[in-house]
């Protein structure tokens, strides 16, 4: 399917899903939980552009997510712009952070790059902790608007926005994967020196990947203050975002756009069910156990498992 057709078809599916859920489901908790699962889809898809396609492991997911969230806080305090504008601004701010991270880590590879991204998250958190305008270490309360722009409550509105963001991130990821850019990123992942010797402008493509990946993570974080209504650095910069964003593509499969989506839907849903039925403290344990299981059973994720079976049948 061509990229243009995929954009249209996936947009149609998103619209149908949106109408069906908003029309059929009245249970408020569904939207509350679905928002988190969809947020995972965006984060995992965004992470996979740099981690899966390009082979650069980013543990600084929390920083990009939080910068998106705090850019909304700033806009909330200074302006009355609608949430979609805040999402765009969050994408811009975190995209810029991604670009800066790319520039600072141009010569780093493998584990050194991963550690640098972790360090970046700590530096970014320290900045926010010491910035009183956005609440500093105490955090800040955000009062949602009384009326949502669409019919229904504000959480339903947030769910709708996150569904659209999921569509956007998936469509972007698939377009990259099937494009010349995707081929260049895959070459970097397979062998950066050979890629450079084949004419691939590796530094430029890496910068593009860090910027795009960061921007999408920031967009996922932008509505977060309105979802939680209280934002503090500890929760917004949580390492759990990075753990989930890494685990989901690993479980689903990292070389294809569908892998992170499957991983996020599977892991996100299991976590939500576990939160309600057992305990929210079990979330990371579930992630850990599933990761161990998949590393043993399907090191290339669910997508890799199916691809291997298809090859065997041939």
């Amino acid at each position: 399917m061509s990229s243009a057709r995929f954009w249209l078809a996936s947009l149609a599916i998103t619209a149908i899903l949106l109408v069906l859920t908003r029309w059929q489901i009245e249970n408020g908790y569904f939207y509350f939980a679905a928002y988190v699962v969809l947020q995972s889809v965006v984060l995992a898809t965004a992470w996979n552009i740099l981690g899966g396609y390009t082979g650069y492991i980013n543990f600084g997911v929390g920083a990009f997510f939080a910068f998106g969230a705090y850019s909304s806080v700033v806009l909330h305090k200074l302006t009355t712009v609608p949430l979609p504008v805040m999402i765009a601004a969050g994408g811009l701010v975190s995209g810029l952070l991604g670009f800066l991270m790319g520039c600072l880590t141009l010569r780093l590879k493998g584990v050194f790059f991963a550690i640098a991204t972790l360090a970046l998250a700590i530096v970014a958190q320290t900045l926010i902790v010491n910035w009183a305008f956005v609440g500093g270490s105490r955090g800040i309360y955000i009062i949602r608007p009384q009326h949502a722009p669409l019919a229904g409550g504000y959480v339903q509105y947030l769910y709708s926005l996150m569904l659209v963001l999921s569509w956007l991130s998936i469509a972007i990821a698939r377009t990259i994967e099937r494009s010349h850019l995707g081929l260049g990123l895959a070459a970097i992942r397979d062998d950066e020196q050979a890629a450079e010797a084949s004419g691939v402008p590796t530094l430029r493509l890496r910068l593009l990947a860090t910027t795009l990946s960061g921007a999408l993570m920031g967009m996922a974080g932008a509505p977060f203050p309105y979802y939680v209504t209280y934002l503090d650095p500890t929760s917004s910069f949580s390492l759990a975002y990075a753990v989930n964003a890494v685990a989901m593509p690993l479980i689903g499969g990292m070389t294809s756009w569908i892998g992170p989506v499957i991983g996020a839907l599977l892991l996100g849903t299991v976590q939500q069910v576990a939160t309600v039925t057992i305990s929210s403290a079990l979330n990371l344990l579930i992630v850990g156990l599933l990761l161990i299981a998949f590393v043993i059973i399907a090191p290339n994720g669910i997508v890799g498992l199916f691809a291997r079976r298809r090859v065997r049948r041939r």
Binding site: H180, L183, G184, A186, A187, R189, D190, D191, Q193, A194, A195, E196, A197, S198, G199, V200, P201, T202, L203, T255
Partner: protein, 249 residues
Amino acid sequence: MIAAAAAPLLAVTGLGKQFGGFVALDGIDLEIAEGERLGLIGPNGSGKSTLVNCLCGTLRHDRGEIRFAGRRLDGVPAHQRTRRGLARSFQLPRPFGTMSLVDNLRIPLLYAANARPGMHLGDAAIEQHCLALLGAVGLADRARRRPRELTQVEMRKLELARAVASGPRLLFADEAMAGLSTAEVEEILAVLLRLNESGITIVLIEHIMRAVMSFSTRLVVLVAGRKIADGMPQEVMRNPEVERAYLGE
């Protein structure tokens, strides 16, 4: 009237490279003419691969000047040098492991050959060109396979085909025959000769002297980062300094 000599394709002047206190290249001067078949030999650690890495942009040289087709290459990144027509194959094959053989060749076609002014191959033309290149090295029937399914000699051929896909004027074949059997060495030699006949200047860096002597029209010898001989292969091999370097005092 005497005709002016054609400008060299590659001109290296006083090239130097150090790793800490170790001098890897010590004032190398080298000129390579268009269409030449140059053999570059020397004992292990003599600086052959360092020279190739400096010329291709993988390493930054400390001193000297490199000119390719009349233009300076100093400070030009590796991918830009490939686009200008300098290609290399690696000592140890470095294929793009998750891609098919066709996609391995698609990368240099898209990013090097197609990036040149006036070159705008469409997807279908690129696919055809990939298949033709794979056919030229005898890998057409493996086009949709992954590199891990190839034998050692096929891997070397893929490495050469990928370098050629970038549309080079000068190709460095860095130990393209290492570890191959006699028959396989002949196969690679035949591929290199065909590439040279098609107009590509080739620098063969090799330890297999039989292959070097049958392929090269000129021989350059490096020892401890210095060029100790440069000339016709038979003459160079009779050079006492070269004999000493290879056979000892």
